[in-house]
Amino acid sequence: MGAVAALAVAIPLVAAAAIAATGQLLPPRVHDAAAIAAAATTAALTFVLVARTGGPRVVEWFGGWTPRHDNVAIGIDFAVDRFGAGIAALAAVLVTAALVYSWSFFEEGGHFFPVLVLLFLGGMVGFALTGDLFNWFVFFELMGVAAYALTAYQVDETGPIQGAFNFTVTNSIGGFMVLAGIGLLYGRTGALNLAQIGRQLDERPPDGLVVAAFTLVAVGFLVKAAAVPFHWWLADAHAVAPAPVCVLFSGVMVELGVFAFARLYWTAFEGTLGEHDLRPVVLGLGALTALVGAVLCVLQRHLKRLLAYSTISHVGIFLLGVGLLSGDGLAGAGVYALAHGLAKGSLFLVAGILINRHGTPDELLLRGRAVGSRGAALVYAAGGLALVGPPFLGVFLGKSLLEDGALEEGQSWVVVTAIVASVLTAGAVLRAGARIFLGWGVGADPLLSPEPEEVEPLERESPQRTVLVAVAGILVVGSLALGLAPGLAPRAKAGAEQFRDRHAYVDEVLEAKRVEAKPLGGHHTKPESIVLGLVTLGGALAVCAWGLRGHPLPRIAVAPLDRLRALHSGAIGDYVAWMVFGTAALGGLVTLAAR
C-alpha cells in the first residue's frame, strides 16, 4: 500500500517531465491526452488509498529507512490517513477535470499548461501525505512555484503579472516563516519527523520557542489558506488566473492550507499547547475570515473576484470547524471542504465559459447576456444551491456536522457566524447568476467595486461549449450528491478521530504498531440542522433579492464598507505589512493563551 502512496506523487511528476522533454517533438494533443491519463491514474491511486484507510495509517518510509531502534526517524515518511488521502483525491479529481476542460478551453499555449498543472498536482499530493516537516516545506514550494506560474498564464495583460507577483511574494514570505519555524523546532528537538517532534514536545510547558515555532509555521500555512489578515493575494490571483486554474486554487489549494494547519496542531503541538486553550484564538481567526470574506464577496461585480472572496469566507468556516478542536468540528470541516471544492470548481468553470464567450467577467455588463445558455445556467444554479446547502444537498452534511460540533462544545455563536457567512456569500453568488442568466435586477449598483476597464463585451462562439458545461456539470452533481452520500458522516467522524489521535500517530509512524480504528458509529441528522438549512436557503434568497435591487443601504453603513474595500489596495507593501502585523498578533495571542 505504501507503494501506491509513492506512485501517487511520482506519476504526475514523471509525466510532467516527459511532456516537457518532448515539448517540441510531439503534437500538443498527445501531451494533453498524456496529462489527462496521468491525472486520472493519480486519481485512481488516491481512491485506492481512500478505500484502504479504514484501518491503521499507511506508513511508507522512502529509501527503506525505517526509524532506528531508539525511535529516531532518519528518513522521510508518508503517513496516510483518511483525511490526507481524501484531500489528495480531491486534488487529483479537480486536476483531471481542469485538464479535460482546458483541452477545449485554451486555443493555444503549448505544453506549459499540462506540465505545470501536473507539477502542481504532484506537489499537492505530496503536501497532503507527507509526515516530515521539511519535506512539507519542499512540497509547499513545489505547489507554490507551479501555482505562481499558472496565475500569470495569460501573460499578455498586466493584471495577471500583478496578481502573480502579489501571490508569489506573499506566499514566498509565508514559506520563509515556515522555514524559520522548522529551524527553531529542529534546534529544540533535533528532529524533522512530525511524530518525533510531537513526542519530544509532548507534556512540556510551551515556552517562547514553542509558541514562536508554532506561530511561524502556522502563519505560513494560513497564508496559503488565505485566512484574514493573510488573505490579500487570493482575490488578486483568482481574478487573473485562467478559470481551470482557479478551480484548483479555490477547490483544493487553500483547503490544503487549513488541512496543514490542523495537521501541524494535532501531530506536533497538541501535546504541549493542548493543555492550554487555543480555541478562542483559532475560532476568532475563523470568524474574522468568514465575515470579512463574506462582506467583500457581496461587494464584488467581477465574477471571479466574487467567487474568490466567497472562498475566503469558506476558509473562515473551515477554520471555525477546526478551531472547535473537536472530532465533530473537524469532521464537519472536512466534509464541508469536499462539497465546497466540487461546487466552487463548477462555478469557476461556468465563469470561465462566460468570460471566454462574452469577453468580460463583469456582472453588470454581463446582465442578461447569457439568457440563452440553459446548460450553463443550470450548472451555475446548482453550484449556488450546493453552496447554500439546503437539507440533504451539497454542503449540508458538512455544515450540519459542524453545527453539531459547535453546539456540543457550547459555542452557539459559531453556528450563527457560519450561517451569516454562507447566507451572504451564497446570496451574492445567486445574485450574480440571476443577473447574468436571467437578466433580473437593476443595471447599476454603486455599492459594487468599480471595475478599472468597462469595455463593451465581445461576443465569441467557442465551439466545444458542451464539453465545458459537461465537466462543470459532473463536478456539481458530485457536490450535490455529497449531501446524501450514505456512510460519509460516520466515516468522516472516524477519520477525524484518527486525525486527532496523536498517540496512535506516534505509535504507527515511529514504532510500526498497528492501531486498529474504532468501529464506525452512526449519524442522525438532527431536526435543528434541517431548520438551519432552510434558514440559510431563505437568507440567501433574501440577500440575492436585496442585491438585485441594488443593495439599498443607509448611507451610514456605506462608509465603513468603502474603508474595508480600500484596504485591498493591490499594493504588495501593504499586504506584507499586514502579514507581519498578523504574525505578531497571532504570536501574541498564542503567547497569552499558553501562559
Binding site: 503579472i161 529551524g183 507581519v580
Partner: protein
C-alpha cells in the same frame, strides 16, 4: 553572546521584510526577498554547528572525528535552490511588468483593487 548568531538570523529576516514592504522597485524587492530567505540559511547552519567540529566528509579525517550536523547543510542546499527559483520568477515578472506598464514600482500597478 552564545545566542548572537540566532539574533543575526532574526535581524536579517526582519531587515529583508522591511525592504520588501518599503520597496519602490521590483528588482530591489526580489533581492530583499533573497535576503529574507538567507536568514534561514544562517539560522539552520548556526543551529547545526558543533564547537570544534569539522565538515562531515570522511575523506581526509578518521572515522569518529567530531563533525557538525550533516542534516542542516542538506536542508540549506534545498533552501538555496528554492531561493534562486523564486528570484528568477520574481525578476521575470518584474521584467514583464516593465515591458507592459513601463514601471517596476509595485505601488504603480493599479489594476487589482477592492
Amino acid at each position: 553572546m552564545s545566542h548572537a548568531p540566532y539574533v543575526v538570523a532574526a535581524w536579517l529576516f526582519l531587515a529583508g521584510i522591511y525592504g520588501v514592504v518599503t520597496s519602490r522597485n521590483m528588482i530591489h524587492l526580489a533581492v530583499c526577498m533573497a535576503v529574507t530567505q538567507s536568514s534561514t540559511y544562517v539560522l539552520l547552519l548556526a543551529i547545526g554547528y558543533v564547537d570544534g567540529g569539522t565538515a562531515p566528509i570522511y575523506r581526509d579525517i578518521p572515522v569518529g572525528t567530531k563533525v557538525v550536523d550533516p542534516v542542516v547543510p542538506a536542508l540549506v542546499l534545498t533552501d538555496i535552490v528554492v531561493s534562486v527559483t523564486l528570484t528568477a520568477l520574481v525578476l521575470t515578472l518584474a521584467s514583464r511588468a516593465h515591458a507592459s506598464k513601463g514601471t517596476m514600482d509595485p505601488d504603480a500597478l493599479p489594476e487589482l483593487k477592492g
